[in-house]
């Protein structure tokens, strides 16, 4: 569904993404893992066209996303830090996006998915201005907006960070449901136990390079570990050893 070839991005002298190629298919739930500053968020922003790569191509359903925008009607995005216009209310933000999507997508009958809005009991807060919201409530709004238009691809950057345990559980349940519908889900998190329950594949980035892209089950059998965290640790240790053996 999304094909990335030789993606390259630098900020000044700093190389953030280095020759990254990967193919993401519908039905996959991919966890994007890597140390801080390894390029995860930049990769996600490239997929969304928010960051313009210096080189390489990204194809969405076969079409290059460069200078294209229609493909974004199939994408729901939950940013790591949701930033919203300060003096708008939650209701206004939601209505605005509905309004914008309705014409921009050129398909009038977008099915709205308001499950999360109900689950988080958001209508109670509808008249609060965005600037007065706590970090967690902001995250809830971001999550609701990502799922609202029932997109085929969900890109979730640290979805559970800052959420209380109950809301995090509700969100994970929702992600699981969407995964079962055969959507492509790409998520990052530093809470590996969350990813363990939700994902089918693991994409590991380090210093902008793709270290590996494997099925979760393969990783586990290969390393003989039951937990994703331990499996990753085992692989990283092995790689470090092989690096030392042949520098």
């Amino acid at each position: 569904m999304i094909t990335v070839q030789n993606l390259h991005k630098t900020y000044g002298r700093l190389t953030v993404l280095d020759d990254l190629s990967v193919e993401l298919k519908a039905g996959q739930a991919v966890s994007l893992i890597g140390p801080n500053g390894s390029g995860k968020t930049t990769f996600i922003k490239c997929l969304l066209g928010l960051v313009i790569p210096d080189g390489g191509t990204i194809r969405f359903g076969g079409r290059s996303v460069r200078h294209d925008w229609i493909y974004r009607q199939h994408v729901g995005y939950m940013p790591q830090i949701g930033r919203y216009p300060d003096n708008m209310r939650i209701r206004q933000v939601i209505d605005m996006l509905k309004d914008v999507r309705r014409t921009a997508g050129r398909c009038p009958a977008v099915r709205l998915d308001e499950d999360l809005i109900r689950a988080f009991d958001l209508p109670k807060l509808y008249d609060k201005p965005m600037r007065s919201l706590s970090g967690g409530t902001r995250q809830k709004v971001s999550a609701c907006l990502a799922f609202l238009f029932d997109p085929e691809v969900l890109i979730l950057d640290e979805p559970t960070a800052g959420l209380d345990p109950l809301s995090a559980e509700l969100l994970k349940q929702k992600i699981r449901q969407e995964k079962e519908k055969g959507k492509l889900i790409l998520l990052t998190s530093h809470i590996l136990s969350d990813l363990d329950e939700l994902t089918t594949d693991v994409m590991y980035l380090q210093e902008g390079k793709l270290q590996f892209f494997r099925e979760l089950a393969w990783l586990k059998t290969q390393t003989g570990e039951q937990k994703l965290g331990r499996a990753i640790a085992a692989i990283m240790a092995k790689e470090r050893k092989s690096e030392r053996a042949n520098p």
Partner: protein, 255 residues
């Protein structure tokens, strides 16, 4: 794009600065016409106020508004929206609100006290200056991500066009006073939209020959009608180039 303009308008109406700008213009122009019994003289004073105020307010308000609506743009750019359309929507929203404030604030008193072609020319020149300095402010804002730098850049633009440029022209005139400067001056005046607006209005007045060097040259060279067309054409170039540059930068900008 219309939808984006709508949301920009909603946002601008909420913070009331544009409303205050309109009231300020209304009070100033009302007072000038009220105090001065000769309408043409009042119009001259109003012209000077317009040439100073409109660029400054347009630049400052637009730059601050741009940085304050960064979140809005960030939110919308993750949606199926074309970047250029978002940018143009923002630009049209800000420009149209400032233009409305100007047209009401200055236009109503003119229509009430002094409804002449010269008054209409002042409105047209003010409108052109609003649009031009809004687009210059957009160019300054997309060039840097740092709000302080962006506002500083806008202030520099204003200082340059409102104050420094005249000094530069005078210097050139004095330094080369032995040479015929008519034709170079035609071109040099076109390098400053504020001067162009001033000349455009002067050409509508019968006093144009008395009102400054460049105005007299334009009058002599083109005559009233030709000069007006030339200044308006130069003003539209001043509008289109910043918009085109802004669009180019914004399309490849990392959000």
């Amino acid at each position: 794009m219309i939808k984006i303009i709508k949301y920009v308008w909603l946002d601008i109406l909420q913070n009331r600065i544009v409303l205050a700008y309109m009231l300020f213009l209304l009070v100033i122009s009302g007072t000038l016409f009220g105090l001065e019994s000769n309408g043409s003289k009042a119009l001259m004073s109003l012209l000077n106020v317009t040439l100073m105020m409109v660029p400054l307010v347009s630049l400052m308000f637009t730059t601050i508004h741009f940085y304050n609506s960064y979140e809005f743009m960030e939110l919308l750019l993750a949606q199926p929206i074309d970047r250029s359309r978002l940018l143009l929507g923002e630009l049209c929203g800000v420009a149209s609100s400032l233009a409305t404030a100007f047209l009401l604030g200055v236009g109503l008193p003119i229509a009430w006290y002094h409804p002449t072609p010269t008054g209409a020319a002042l409105l047209l020149a003010g409108l052109a200056l609003t649009l031009i300095f809004v687009s210059l402010a957009f160019l300054a804002s997309v060039s840097t991500r740092d709000k302080a730098k962006g506002i500083g850049l806008s202030l520099l633009i204003w200082l340059y066009f409102a104050l420094l440029f005249d000094g530069l022209i005078l210097t050139v005139v004095f330094m080369f006073s032995d040479y015929p400067l008519e034709k170079p001056m035609l071109i040099m005046a076109a390098l400053n939209p504020v001067d162009l607006a001033r000349i455009f209005i002067m050409l509508q007045m019968d006093v144009s020959a008395l009102m400054g060097y460049t105005g007299a040259i334009y009058q002599a060279f083109f005559g009233s009608v030709g000069g007006s067309i030339y200044t308006l054409a130069a003003l539209s170039v001043w509008l289109l180039i910043p918009i085109a540059l802004t669009n180019r930068i914004f399309r490849s900008k990392d959000i």
